[in-house]
Symmetry: C2
Subunit: 218 residues, 2 copies
């Protein structure tokens, strides 16, 4: 090597990227929380010394991530982005079966974890039964199972499992994935094992869920 040139492939940072960084730093330094108003586009333009267009490109990107919310005539406000995002869902992309299957397996992992954590929460058997009795089930597995998981997940300390679970669930629903699955188990079985705290059997049941065959297209 003769020169000191940097051969790394790296494009120079773009203005909107820097705007994003500055914006986040500004919000953190000012301790702005959900609902707080940030300076107007024109102010930011002067403050950061960049054009309004670049400011807007940054704001728009942060808006898509759920970090900002701008309303015409009012201003731009700080918002709380979710802990996880699934890009194809944000873009309402059509996903093929192999993608959906991958999301499905993550979905099952989350479901399993939520059930496991729920059982280790230290509730008495009575509380367990009382809590779940407020739910009214329909008999349709892919209607009852999600309702159940969502319900017990809201009681957990860590809300991220529910967030991740919901993301995956929504992707699958929006792509009509569940109706392609060949289900061989009743929902009651899950619920009974849960109320009996039969973790070994639950493990088997979840294992069965993750190994579902695809329905043969007729």
């Amino acid at each position: 090597m003769k020169s000191n040139r940097n051969y790394q492939v790296q494009q120079p940072p773009k203005m909107y990227q820097q705007v994003i960084t500055q914006l986040v730093e500004y919000i953190e330094s000012e301790q702005l929380s959900e609902g707080s108003k940030i300076p107007t586009e024109r102010n930011l333009s002067e403050l950061l010394g960049v054009s309004r267009s670049s400011i807007r490109e940054g704001i728009r990107s942060l808006e898509l991530l759920g970090y900002l919310d701008s309303r015409q005539g009012e201003g731009t406000f700080v918002s709380n982005p979710p802990p996880f995002l699934i890009p194809p869902q944000l873009l309402k992309q059509q996903l093929d079966h192999i993608y959906l299957q991958n999301y499905y397996e993550v979905f099952i992992m989350c479901s399993k974890q939520i059930v496991s954590l729920s059982l280790s929460q230290g509730l008495t058997n009575k509380e367990l039964i009382e809590k779940t009795s407020v739910l009214n089930f329909t008999g349709d597995f892919w209607s009852d199972f999600p309702e159940w998981i969502e319900f017990i997940a809201t009681g957990l300390q860590n809300p991220f499992f529910l967030s991740l679970w919901s993301n995956n669930y929504n992707v699958l629903v929006e792509n009509d994935y569940f109706c392609t699955l060949n289900l061989k188990v009743q929902f009651n079985v899950f619920l009974d094992c849960y109320l009996e705290r039969n973790e070994a059997r639950l493990k088997e049941l979840f294992h069965g869920l993750s190994k579902l065959d695809k329905l043969d297209p007729i």
Copy 2:
């Protein structure tokens, strides 16, 4: 209700949102895959009948998601977005301890799942030992453990677990989370149990990891 007016609280869709939708539809309909070039900003402007600025706001947002990649002088190209995103990581936000702990628990869940799937892959004991022997460990838990997980995850059918794992891992690393943990176990123990396929003991070990105490600040 006297009129047919829609009282739903919904802001009118913004141009850049529509641009995003149209762009995704265009890419899908043209079957463009990774690396394909999309029309120039000026072309898109005419094609969709919106200004170049709005086109850019849409492109920029998709760029942040990893769905597009635009290079000055060349053009804008289709890219493959990752299956999961963690917004605070994209924004290089500083996260507080409670947030990090939540991500940590998801991280452990993924690690556990990866190990479990790896063991059920049907490898012989000999293959298992040979595969892991290519790794050279340092003795530092939070250096060895991630290297191990990442290695065995690359052999899995479903790449989403690794993707999700990496996302969480990177958040934790970037926020110096691991060095705040009070670790009481050696990495060897994990590896030995793995090679012995001792799933029951592995379960205990992971349970121990998820219940780590925070180091007392001195």
